[in-house]
Symmetry: C2
Subunit: 677 residues, 2 copies
C-alpha cells in the first residue's frame, strides 16, 4: 500500500465533500416526514416554516375567575356609591344584549378562567374585587357558590376589555410561529399545539451505518488477550450520530478482508444515507478502506491535515458500482478513539446538520491563557485538548495528554483549542481560543490542582463532585506544582518534597519557589514509599542498593516529582550513581503508571507508594514514610470556591476511604502545618 | 373555595418540599439499575464512581505500523553507516530473547498499529523511517509485503520505548474513570468501554405521571368551539421531564370531578415517583387540586411568590391515604402554559436532578441592559422573558409579552431575568442578569429590529434563519422604533411615517428623532392601507367618514404606530373628532391583532393592511398606498451582521414571497431612499 494520497487542509476537504454532495443531489435536506406532535417530536427539526392554523385563544376568554359585565353598567361605581349587579344563571352566557336587562337591573354572570366571554359583555371583574350579597342591599355574604343567583357589589368602575384575553393574544391565525430548521424544544411543541397543529412536518432522520473493521477487534465483554482491541468506536460514533439527530446502525465487526468489506459496505450503502468505516483508513498493510472506497466509488480525500485524526477518508459510493439506487457518501474514520470522536465532531455533525436543515452546533468560545508551552507539528491543524478553569481573574487552559489513543483526555477535556497549521506551537502564557465542551458556569466551579499525584486526590475529585465542585488535576510533580502556583496557574499544589537537612516536607521549597507569597501548608496524608515488584518478588529485591545489579531494570518517575527527589536523595546518600541503575532514564508521570510498567514486565521494579502496588496486585517493599501536603495560596484558601474542599478534609467518609488505602495515614489530615505570610 | 393559602417565597417553598422529601426518604437517588453499555446509555446518570477494570492498553502495543526492534540493535545507525535488520516471520513475535539472534544477524518483525510488542523488543520503528531491501546490502525495494522475509535498513538509532503505547497509557486498572452523577456523553461511553466495562450502574429514571384536568380541555386535533381549550401542557411537561432524564406518562384528560380526580391521582401515585396535576391549582370554583392533595396526603405549599406561576401546589401523597406502598410527592402545576413551563424549570428539573444524583442544570448568565421600563408586582419574584442581542458594544435585553397565556413569548425568549420580589420594577437602561436559553454564539448572530410591524419582516425572519441570522423584532410602532434607535437599542427600525406636507415617508421624522446620526433609509415595500371589515361588509362601510356612525365600532392601533399617524392625519383632514369614533381608544399592536378583533366581532372595523384582511378572510376597503421603509444607522448597515439582510432584499425568492402578499409592491425593495450623513 502507498502512504496517504495527500494530507490536505480541512477547509479543502470539506469543500470537496460539499461539492460531491451537491453534485449527487445530497447537498440539502434528505427528505421529510409528517409526525404526530408528541414527546417524540422533541429534538426533531422542522422541515418548513410553521404558521398558526388557529388563533390562540380562538375566542375572547376570561383571563381570571370573575364576573362578566358590560363596562358601561359599572360606570359611576365608587367606594361611597357602589353598583350592584344581579348574578344570572348559566344560560345568560349564551344570550344576546336584549336579554341582559330585566326590571331595570343590570345582570352579570360568573366565568372561570378560560371561559368564553358572552357576546353582551366587554369586561371581567376578578372575583376578589367584588362583594357577594344574598340579595340587593344586604351585607357581605361569605363565599356563596359564584354560579348561583346572588348579587355582587362593585366599588370601582371597570374599563372596557379588562381581564379579557382577546382572540389571538398569543397567535393570530396565519401568523408565523416557527422557522424551518428549528430544533424542537418542549416549549416549541406547546407553541405548535397552541397554534392549532397536531402533526408536524420534520426532516427525515439521516440513516448512518457504522462498520467496525479489523481482525484485532473484539466486542465489549470479551475476555481479552494481548493483541485484542475492544471495539467501542462504533458505540461512541453511534451515540454522537443519535445525539446530532441521525439514526445509527452498528454493524458487526468485520475482519480485514477486502472482499468481505466490499460486500458489507455495498449492503450498508443500499439501506443508509452515510457509511462510516472504522478503521483501516490509514496506509498500513491491512488498511483496506481506501481501496474499498475506490472499488465502490470515488475516493475524494485520503488524509486531512488535522491532528489527531489525519488519516480520514472521504468518498462517494456510486450506484453503478454498488448497485444501490443512489450515491452514498462514505467516511473512513481513523481507528484511534480520540481521532474517531473528533472526526465525528469535524465531519459528521456538519453533514447531519446539512441533511436535517438545521444550523450546525456552535460551541461557546472563550479566550484562555495557556499554562504550558506546547509544540505542534507544523503541517497540521492541531486539536489540543485542554482543561479550563478560572484562577483569580484569569481563565486558564491547561493542555491534556495528546496521544490519539488516550480517550481519558477527551473525557477530562473542558474544551478544544485549535492551533492552526504552520504555528509550530505556542509558548506558555499565550492566549488561546477554546471551544468549550462544558458550560462556563461549570468551569467557574472548577478547582485547579497541579503538582504531585496522589490517590487521595482522585478520591477528593469523586467526593467534590457531590459538592458542586470539580477537581481538575494535572500531574507535573511536586516542583512543577510549585512553579505553576508561582505563575498563578492553579489553586493548589500537592507536594511531598523532603528537605534532607531538617526532615521537614515542602517548607524550604515553598520559601524558594514562592518567595513573598502568603501560603497555607495543609497536611493531607502520610504515606509509605517503597519498591514495587511483581508478585512473589521474582528478582529477589531487598533494598535500593540492589538497583545496581545489571540484571535488574528500574522504571523511574519524572524529574521534579517528589518521589524522584526522594530517590535521588537516597541514591546520593548511598553513593549510588544514576548511571549504574538500569532504566533510570525511563520516566513515568504517576505511581500507577510505574506500577503498570512493572506489572507488564517492562521493568522489574520502581519506587512508588504501597497503594499503587496493591491496586495492580504487586508486591511492595516498604522503605520510607513521607508527608504529602497541599500547598494553597492564602488568597485561594479563603475563597468560597475552596470551601467544600476545606470541609472535605474533616469529612469522616472521605477520611475513611483514604485511610483504607494501604500505607496511608490520615491522622494529620487538614492540619495547618504552616501559615506563611 | 378560599383564596390561596399563602403566597410564600420560592426559597421557602423549595425548603418545605426538600424537608418533606428527606422525611419520606426521597431526598436522594431513587434507585439504580445495571444497563448494557450501548447507545441508550447516553444521557443516563452514573450511580457510582467508576474505576478501570482493565488497563488500556492492556498490553504494550505498537503505536504505529512499523518494525519491532531491540533499541540496542540500532545503536550506531547513522546516515553514513546504516544498520540492517532481518525481517522474520510471524512466529518471532511470540519468541523469547534467545531466538532473536541467528548467524550474528539482528532480527526484527513487522507490527500493525495496535499489535502487541514481542517480549524481546523495546521499541518500534515506523515503516516510513526504514528502507526495504530484498536482501542484505541491496538497493531500495519498493513496498514489499512488510510481513514477508526481507531486510530493512535504518539510518538512525532509536531510543528505548519509542512508538510504543505502554500498558495503562489511557487508564491503569483500578484508576478512577468517572464520578457518580456523571451524565454520560458519547466519549464517556468510550472511556467506560476502554477501561473494561460493558455494563454500567445508573440511576433509575424517575417515573412522572402527568394528569391534565379540566372539563374545558380537549385533546389536540379536536375541532374546537368557543370555551374549548386545547390540552398541550401535558405535552410540554412530558417533553421537559424526558429531557431532564425522567420517564413521563401522559394520562387522559380528567374532567373537574373531585372523586374522579382522587381516584386517578391515587392510581398514578401507586405506579409513579411524582404526580403532576395540571391544572386546578388555583382557587376558582372548579379548582380541586388542593382539595385532592389534602384528601390524599399533606398540602405543603399552596401559592408561591413567583410570577407567572404563583398558584403552584406542592404536597406529599401519603400511603395511609392512597393505599400505595410509599409516599409520593405531588405538584399542582398552574394551567397557563407559560406558568406550567416555568413550574417545570423551577420545581421539576431540580427534583429530577436530585433523584438522578446529577447536578441541576446551570444556565449561562449574562448581564444585559434593559431596553424598556418594566413594572413589577411588589410581592412576587418576577420571571421576565427577554430577547437578548448585541447592538454595538452593548448586550441588550428587550422585555417580551408578559401574559402567562402567551407561550409565543417563551418560544421567542432568549432568556429569563428574575426581578426579585419587592423591586417594583426597573427603569430602562438598568443592568439585568439574564439566564440564557440560547448560546451566546447564537445571540451574537441576532439582528434586533424594532418599530412598526410588517408581514415582510416575518418573512424576512424566516429567510434569514437559513442564512445564519436570527431576526428578533419588537412591535412598538414607527415612532417607538426611532426612539429605540436613538437609544442604541436596535440595529434597524421599520417605519412608515407620512409627512403630510411633503408626501414623503420617514425623512422628516428621522431628522427630528435622530439628529446628527448617520442613517440609511432603505425601501422595503409599498403597501395598501384600508378598512378591514367582516366578510360581505355587513355594516356597509364605505369610507373613513362612516366611522362617525354610532352603531359602528372601531379598533385602533396604538399611539406612535404609522397606521395611527395615517388615521389621525386623515381624520383631521376630514374634520372628524376622535371622540366621535366609537372604539378609538381601543388599541392593538399589530395589523393581525386588529384583524383578529374584527374577525371575532369585538369591533366592526379597523384600519390596516390588505394582507392582514386576507390572512383572516376579512373584506378590505382600500384607502391609501404607503411606503414602508427600513431605518438603519449607517454603522450597522455596513456591519457584517447585516450583510445577509442586505443581500436578502435582492433575493428573488424573498421578493416573490413578499410580492405575493395582497396589496404589496416590491418594485423599490432595497433602494437607498436617503443616505443621511
Amino acid at each position: 500500500m502507498s502512504v496517504y494520497l495527500h494530507d490536505i487542509p480541512l477547509a479543502e476537504a470539506l469543500q470537496r465533500l460539499g461539492e460531491a454532495l451537491e453534485a449527487a443531489g445530497l447537498g440539502g435536506i434528505l427528505g421529510t416526514e409528517e409526525i404526530q406532535l408528541d414527546v417524540a417530536a422533541t429534538g426533531r427539526v422542522l422541515a418548513e416554516a410553521v404558521f398558526a392554523r388557529l388563533s390562540s385563544p380562538h375566542y375572547p376568554a376570561s383571563a381570571m375567575d370573575g364576573y362578566a359585565v358590560r363596562s358601561e353598567d359599572t360606570a359611576g361605581a365608587l367606594p361611597s356609591t357602589p353598583v350592584e349587579l344581579k348574578v344570572a344563571t348559566d344560560q345568560l352566557r349564551e344570550n344576546a344584549h336584549s336579554h341582559v336587562y330585566e326590571e331595570n337591573q343590570a345582570y352579570t354572570c360568573y366565568l372561570d378562567t378560560g371561559d368564553p366571554l358572552p357576546d353582551w359583555a366587554d369586561a371581567v371583574i376578578p372575583i376578589e374585587q367584588v362583594e357577594s350579597l344574598v340579595t340587593a342591599g344586604d351585607g357581605f355574604s361569605p363565599a356563596p357558590d359564584p354560579r348561583q343567583p346572588h348579587i355582587i357589589r362593585l366599588r370601582a368602575a371597570v374599563t372596557p376589555w379588562s381581564h379579557i384575553r382577546p382572540v389571538g393574544e398569543d397567535f393570530v391565525a396565519t401568523q408565523f410561529v416557527l422557522p424551518a430548521g428549528q430544533v424542537l424544544r418542549p416549549v416549541d411543541l406547546g407553541a405548535l399545539a397552541a397554534s392549532g397543529h397536531d402533526r408536524v412536518l420534520v426532516a427525515r432522520k439521516p440513516r448512518v451505518a457504522i462498520l467496525p473493521t479489523g481482525s484485532e477487534l473484539v466486542p465489549l465483554g470479551t475476555a481479552v488477550k494481548p493483541g485484542d482491541i475492544l471495539e467501542f468506536n462504533s458505540l461512541v460514533l453511534a451515540a454522537q450520530v443519535e445525539g446530532w439527530g441521525g439514526e445509527a446502525t452498528r454493524l458487526a465487526i468485520t475482519p480485514d478482508n477486502f472482499n468481505l468489506l466490499c460486500a458489507r459496505v455495498r449492503e450498508a450503502a443500499c439501506t443508509h444515507d452515510l457509511v462510516l468505516i472504522n478503521a483501516g483508513s490509514s496506509a498500513g498493510s491491512e488498511d483496506f478502506s481506501a481501496r474499498v472506497v475506490s472499488e465502490l466509488g470515488k475516493l475524494l480525500v485520503h488524509g486531512v491535515a488535522v491532528r489527531p485524526g489525519h488519516p480520514v477518508i472521504l468518498g462517494m459510493l456510486l450506484p453503478e458500482r454498488t448497485g444501490c439506487e443512489r450515491p452514498v457518501p462514505v467516511i473512513g474514520v481513523p481507528g484511534y478513539p480520540v481521532s474517531a470522536a473528533l472526526t465525528g465532531e469535524i465531519f459528521i455533525e456538519g453533514l447531519l446538520a446539512r441533511w436535517l436543515g438545521r444550523s450546525p452546533f456552535e460551541p461557546v468560545i472563550v479566550t484562555a491563557r495557556l499554562t504550558r508551552k506546547v509544540t505542534s507539528p507544523g503541517g497540521d491543524d492541531d486539536y489540543l485538548r485542554v482543561a479550563v478553569g478560572r484562577v483569580g481573574e484569569q481563565l486558564l487552559a491547561a493542555p491534556l495528554a495528546r496521544g490519539s489513543g488516550v480517550i481519558s483526555s477527551l473525557v477530562r477535556a473542558d474544551g478544544i483549542a485549535i492551533l492552526p497549521s504552520g504555528s509550530q506551537g505556542l509558548p506558555a502564557g499565550a492566549d488561546l481560543q477554546v471551544r468549550l465542551y462544558r458550560s462556563l458556569a461549570e468551569l467557574e466551579r472548577t478547582i485547579f490542582a497541579i503538582g504531585s499525584h496522589d490517590i487521595a486526590l482522585d478520591l477528593m475529585a469523586m467526593f467534590l463532585s457531590r459538592r458542586r465542585r470539580r477537581l481538575s488535576s494535572a500531574n507535573v510533580g511536586s516542583q512543577g506544582g510549585l512553579v505553576a502556583l508561582r505563575r498563578g496557574e492553579a489553586h493548589l499544589a500537592g507536594a511531598h518534597l523532603l528537605d534532607p537537612l531538617t526532615g521537614e516536607y515542602n517548607l524550604r521549597y515553598v520559601g524558594e519557589y514562592l518567595p513573598g507569597m502568603a501560603i497555607k501548608l495543609v497536611a493531607l496524608v502520610g504515606r509509605q514509599q517503597g519498591l514495587l515488584v511483581r508478585p512473589g518478588n521474582p528478582i529477589g529485591l531487598r533494598s535500593l542498593e540492589d538497583l545496581q545489579k545489571p540484571e535488574i531494570s528500574f522504571v523511574n518517575r519524572q524529574r521534579g516529582a517528589g518521589t524522584r527527589v526522594l530517590l535521588d536523595y537516597h541514591l546520593d546518600r548511598l553513593g549510588i550513581k544514576p548511571q549504574s541503575v538500569r532504566g533510570y532514564t525511563r520516566e513515568e508521570y504517576t505511581h500507577l503508571a510505574v506500577a503498570a510498567a512493572v506489572q507488564s514486565g517492562r521493568a522489574d521494579c520502581g519506587l512508588g507508594i504501597a497503594a499503587a502496588a496493591q491496586a495492580l496486585g504487586l508486591d511492595f517493599i516498604p522503605l520510607f514514610q513521607e508527608q504529602y501536603q497541599l500547598v494553597i495560596p492564602t488568597v485561594y484558601y479563603d475563597d468560597p470556591l475552596l470551601a467544600p474542599l476545606r470541609e472535605l478534609l474533616y469529612d469522616p467518609t472521605y477520611r475513611q476511604s483514604v485511610a483504607a488505602l494501604p500505607g496511608y495515614d490520615v491522622s494529620r489530615m487538614g492540619e495547618l502545618v504552616a501559615d506563611i505570610q
